[in-house]
Amino acid sequence: MLKFNSTTREVVSKLLLLAAFLVLGLLIASQYLLYQKMGFTQSSNDPGGKAVRVSNLYSDNNKLKDQLNDRETQLNNLQDAASNNDELQKLLDEDKAKYQIILGVVPVNGPGVTIDINHQLVLTQLVDLINALRNSGSEAIAVNGKRVITTTPMESFVDQANYKIEVIGEKDVLYESVTRPGGILDLITYGSATRSDNLLLPKV
């Protein structure tokens, strides 16, 4: 058995305590770092949120890449058009058609989906519904036979007995986003959707 005099005992006990706390501190720190590295501390505070943000960023960047490709094609076409009369005519016609579709000054046709809702909708439901359709890639929308463009307020469609919403765009993408569990109809309003190969929407 070890035997110390009182001074030595005091020094030894203090040193031991110091060493113990030091080691414990190091271990706690390394344990915390390990947990952090594995993502425990952060992910438990934000379950799923990061994944949703990344997923959205990924999809938005893809859209931006498509846009950039389109603009680069447009730039190349313009460079050709600068020296070629026919190319310029074609380019101007394409731009004109695009802007007319945006402004709704011409009827427009194309594939898409038709959504049927057999009950009244309040203003916020309509606002959210059109917003969700734009998020899903709609290119043109009509509600009960009336064209909806950027500046169309939803007030005039409130409290109608039923709704037929026609949406031109990628019909499969639109259909899925409308009908999937947790999708547009599920979250915003109940109704049914059908794919269509050719919808014809009126001008404003």
Binding site: L27, M38, D46, V54, D66, R71, D95, K96, Y99, L103
Partner: protein, 248 residues
């Protein structure tokens, strides 16, 4: 007191107790350290850290893509101007296209209007009703269109600004708002061009904007017209303009 003194002395006289206690504690901690299983990724979701890095990379990629888009747009505008000068025979068509382009929101515009501040409450940040939501902005935008706005944009912190255009959706993604694919955070400034009196009265309409005004009074949500901002500049729309399916 003597009992306590006795216990104290018996501990001081037996330093092996210290060693024993420390040994046990170290053993337990070391044991838990070594027995800590590294979690396996059993779902397709990648780890949080990887997601974090991916988010940073994607945000940086998005900033670069937007920069490239802006630069390409600049070149297109410049080339259009050159063509306009050279191709005088097509002047009418060129002018018509330019007018349509402007009306479609694809050029910057400055005119009288209003600027509205929408921000989270200062004192009750933890209450979901005290923060500015994407749905508030959707309601505001709709209300401004009803009252004759001709152009609307939404600016977030850091002067990141997006115009509301033909394919714009305003969505909440966890704690940020996505507009035209751009992440925007508060404070938000909703800028609208149009008849100022009409627009001001639309913002002061507590019935039309009940969901916002209720939270202004109960939760301290910040919502008011910005004084002194009477001449408004709304940037051109830079969101998606890909029309692959809609045809005339």
């Amino acid at each position: 007191m003597p009992k306590f003194q006795k216990i104290k002395e018996s501990f001081i006289n037996k330093p092996w107790i210290y060693l024993g206690v420390i040994g046990i504690v170290l053993g337990v901690v070391l044991g838990s350290q070594f027995s800590q299983k590294i979690p396996r990724i059993i779902s397709p979701a990648v780890s949080y850290i990887a997601l974090d890095e991916m988010q940073t990379n994607l945000e940086s990629e998005q900033a670069n893509l937007k920069k490239s888009l802006s630069s390409t747009d600049g070149k297109i505008d410049e080339l259009n101007n050159q063509i306009e000068i050279k191709q005088s025979g097509k002047k009418d068509l060129i002018n018509e296209v330019e007018t349509l382009k402007r009306k479609a929101g694809l050029t910057d515009v400055s005119a009288p209007g209003i600027s509205v501040l929408l921000d989270d409450s200062d004192d009750r940040k933890n209450n979901p009703n005290s923060i500015a939501h994407a749905s508030d902005m959707r309601d505001l935008v709709n209300n401004l269109w009803i009252n004759g706005a001709t152009a609307i944009s939404i600016e977030g912190a850091g002067h990141i600004e997006e115009r509301v255009g033909p394919t714009t959706s305003i969505d909440c993604i966890v704690n940020t708002v996505l507009i035209n694919g751009t992440k925007i955070v508060p404070p938000f400034k909703i800028k609208a061009i149009g008849n100022r009196e009409k627009l001001i009265s639309s913002i002061n309409d507590q019935k039309a904007l009940k969901l916002i005004y209720d939270r202004v009074s109960k939760e301290g949500l910040v919502f008011h017209i910005v004084d002194g901002e009477t001449m408004i500049t709304v940037p051109k729309f830079t969101g998606s303009l890909t029309f692959k399916n809609a045809k005339i």
